[in-house]
């Protein structure tokens, strides 16, 4: 392996667009597949319109072992041989590529739209649809099984609970699920397209609402990308506050999820307590910035709010109380054999499957993969203050629940440490113009997993293209495979154990 390949870069390290080598598509394929075989995974794979009417492909490969990213790029005409047959984790990205830019990945085994919109490149549609024909979300072919004894169950997009819209098709034999197919795209808002030409006044609100429960994660990824392009470092104190906010977001969501998992198996005490304690963690974020979801806290160059000593000591106090509450509520869960018997053996995803699908975040860690942006691609405060990676081997609902609990404990310890040693100084630095003709990859570990933002700037330092990869984009396929040969009655439990974002996927 070459030590300093021109395409190697780190999280938050801007590179000049002109410096990125553009091999032929054959070379590109080979390098991406080689990297996959060598243990790297696809963090992002996307297209960008080129001046000559073709599409320029970018692949961001992440090597967890080396903590290094590799960037590959190539020009493609209207079609190219698909990566998916040799590298399953490319499947979603290639479907997206086909839908957005009309680039047909030849040989893709199940080429279906991802978000159900018209091609961004006029006159080029991977399915040969005309630009005028209306496109309905969820209207497509589904995998179907034949036979007298099999039956199909369709759930959604309107659900009984207050959740986001998505369509689920189960192929069942009695209670047993043979296959689940998920159709999303109902929440497609065109965020990536709207970000082109930014940063402007609308950019931050878009980031804060990319996925409502991951406000801090996505806003942080965006701000670190902008800071990298502007060549500015956020002050140390701001980096600490942002990390605290990111961990509070993790605490609130993990606690809420453990409660929801308890609720799904009908275990009342933990369900009720965790629902309240989630609110306590959200209120701690509100104590920091006045908003329970952390909106308005993080801005390019730092943070908008400081934590003065009075509120700092209040936060320490309330955090200690919340720690006590969440510990007793969650221990009830592990001490209840009826709960454990529901969690264990439900929805297993093997380590091999997780690696092949390129799962990220807690779903990957629950399948025994040590994969955590905070440890392997650290940015901001995480370069100085480490959080151990929490993983578990079994890949079941229990593993995903237990990893949440380990992360809750570690996040609590992390926040306590940071609150005791907050750096002094300002919380915001001035941001200048962004470097023109540059590309930056920014990764953060949101509570679901790796959030990947890739920004490229044009000649004037405006966004020429902005790519967002929510962890859900990788992980929805994990849910599909977790359900194979499971009981259909366990679907809600498996689904909750992943708790993926619909709007983060649909963008």
């Amino acid at each position: 392996m070459k030590a300093a390949a021109p395409n190697a870069l780190h999280n938050g390290e801007p590179v000049q667009l002109g410096d990125i080598p553009v091999p032929t598509i054959t070379d590109f394929r080979e390098r991406v597949l080689q990297a996959c075989e060598g243990g790297s995974r696809i963090a992002a794979l996307f297209g960008q319109p080129a001046a000559d009417g073709n599409t320029r492909l970018f692949a961001v490969m992440a090597s967890d072992v080396k903590g290094q990213l590799a960037l590959w790029s190539a020009m493609v005409p209207d079609h190219y041989p698909a990566l998916t047959p040799s590298c399953a984790q490319a499947q979603g990205f290639e479907r997206e590529l086909a839908e957005q830019w009309g680039v047909h990945p030849d040989g893709h085994p199940w080429l279906k739209p991802v978000r159900y919109h018209h091609s961004y490149r006029e006159g080029h549609d991977a399915w040969g649809r005309s630009a005028k024909s209306p496109i309905q979300p969820g209207v497509t072919d589904f995998f179907a099984m034949g036979g007298d004894e099999v039956h199909e169950v369709a759930v959604g997009p309107v659900h009984a609970g207050i959740i986001e819209p998505g369509h689920f098709r189960f192929q069942c034999h009695g209670e047993q699920v043979y296959h689940l197919e998920i159709a999303l795209g109902y929440q497609h808002r065109g965020v990536e397209r709207a970000l082109v030409g930014g940063p402007n006044k609308r950019t931050i609100p878009f980031m804060e609402t990319l996925a409502g429960d991951t406000t801090v994660g996505h806003t942080l990824a965006y701000c670190e990308a902008v800071e990298a392009l502007a060549g500015v470092d956020a002050p140390a104190r701001a980096q600490a506050l942002r990390a605290i906010a990111l961990e509070l977001e993790r605490l609130a969501n993990h606690t809420g999820d453990l409660g929801a998992l308890a609720d799904d198996v009908g275990y009342l005490p933990t369900a009720s307590y965790c629902g309240r304690i989630r609110g306590d963690f959200l209120n701690l974020t509100a104590l920091l910035c006045g908003n329970r979801f952390g909106r308005g806290l993080i801005r390019p160059g730092g943070a908008l709010f400081d934590l003065e000593p009075a509120r700092q000591s209040q936060m320490v106090e309330r955090l200690a109380q919340a720690r006590q509450d969440v510990t007793s509520a969650v221990e009830l869960l592990w001490n209840s054999s009826s709960v454990r018997s529901r969690f264990e053996n439900a929805g297993p995803v093997s380590r091999e499957t997780a690696l092949e699908l390129g799962l990220v975040g807690l779903a990957a860690r629950a399948s025994g993969i040590e994969r955590d942006v905070r440890a392997q691609f650290p940015s901001g405060l995480y370069r100085f203050a480490q959080i151990p990676v929490s993983s578990y081997h079994s890949g079941t609902v229990f593993a995903r629940a237990y990893v949440r609990w380990m992360e809750i404990q570690r996040s609590l310890a992390f926040i306590s440490d940071q609150l005791q040693a907050l750096p002094h100084g300002p919380v915001r630095a001035e941001i200048g113009p962004l470097a023109p003709q540059h590309l930056v990859v920014s990764l953060t570990e949101g509570w679901r997993g790796e959030i990947c933002h890739v920004a490229t700037t044009d000649a004037t330092g405006r966004f020429a293209h902005y790519k967002v990869v929510d962890p859900s984009f990788h992980n929805w396929m994990g849910l599909t495979l977790a359900l194979r040969n499971q009981q259909i009655s366990d679907f809600p439990l498996c689904n909750k154990s992943f708790n993926l974002s619909y709007c983060g996927h649909d963008l």
């Binding site: 369709a154 308890a262 009908g266 275990y267 009342l268 307590y273 009826s338 439900a346 259909i488």
Partner: protein, 304 residues
């Protein structure tokens, strides 16, 4: 038949919705919440009765008949159930067969109405309900047969009129097993945790609730009310064995009503301290109930 024998009927008709209130308040207590009003089921019934109903065009008369026949069956079964040594309005030899049959009829029409909607959810719920009830019914019958053997009576009223401290002293183990089996039957038949979760909104996991998803308005009120009656009846069944009775008929009734609500509290406690079983493990529990009842029957044969 005299005026006294209408007391169990009247108590069941008026108090059964309160049982659900007691269960919910017990659960709320364990969850650290205030909980809904005790009388919430009455409010719900009243609200639903004021509403109109919407019927899918794919349904037939079966869908509309389901709730009515269900309610009629539940009401008839209520006529047969004594309480606190007070005989039922209707009693004749082998009326317990009719009692079990009426519960079966009620279920049959709920299932048929569910299948009539053509919904895949309701079809799954119906399939689960039929599978599980095929396992609870033998447990119920064998438990009742044990009581017949113990008391030498063939009618529910005389059977429960007879159970006394002497029976408990003589064949306590058999009666204890019967009570245990009937408690499991009660939880399963009334779709409570650990068999079913009456509070879930997740269609894919439901058994009973999913079968009534398409019913609304007065039909749903009928279903709720029949369900409340069914809970009362099975609780009264358990109470009839557990409470041997005193000499005072009024005290007997009072104790029995208290014990019926005691059963509701126990159901609430069970729902609060354990999670629901995985669906495929439920049959093991129900077969277990059958085994308990069968053991009780063998004991009764041996002891008498």
């Amino acid at each position: 038949m005299n005026a006294i024998s209408f007391i169990p009927l009247l108590l069941a008709l008026t108090l059964s919705p309160l049982l659900l209130g007691v269960i919910n308040r017990t659960k709320a207590f364990f969850a650290g919440r205030h909980g809904q009003p005790l009388l919430q089921t009455y409010f719900d019934l009243w609200k639903l009765l004021q509403k109109g109903a919407v019927y899918s065009r794919t349904t037939t008369w079966l869908f509309r008949a389901g709730p009515m026949i269900g309610l009629a069956a539940a009401l008839t079964a209520t006529l047969l159930m004594p309480l606190g040594k007070c005989p039922a309005s209707l009693a004749f030899p082998a009326d317990f067969l009719l009692f079990a049959g009426l519960l079966g009829l009620m279920r049959f029409f709920t299932v048929v109405a569910a299948l009539d909607t053509g919904s895949s959810f309701e079809g799954m719920g119906a399939s689960r309900e039929v599978f599980f009830s095929a396992l609870t019914e033998p447990a119920l019958f064998v438990a009742l047969a044990t009581l017949v053997r113990e008391t030498g009576q063939l009618s529910l009223s005389t059977m429960f009129g007879q159970v006394s401290n002497a029976h408990w002293l003589h064949s306590g183990p058999a009666l204890g097993l019967v009570v245990l089996a009937l408690m499991i039957v009660l939880l399963a038949e009334n779709s409570r945790i650990p068999v079913d979760d009456p509070n879930t909104h997740l269609e894919l996991t439901m058994i009973h609730e999913v079968m009534v998803l398409d019913h609304g308005g007065p039909d749903l009120a009928f279903i709720f009310y029949s369900a409340a009656l069914k809970l009362w009846l099975l609780s009264a069944l358990v109470v009839g064995i557990v409470l041997p009775g005193t000499g005072d008929p009024r005290l007997n009734l009072l104790l029995a009503v208290g014990a019926v609500f005691g059963v509701a509290v126990i159901v609430g406690v069970i729902e609060s301290v354990m999670a629901r079983l995985r669906l495929m493990i439920v049959p093991q529990l129900l077969v277990g109930a059958g085994a308990l009842a069968a053991t009780a029957f063998l004991l009764a044969l041996k002891l008498n």
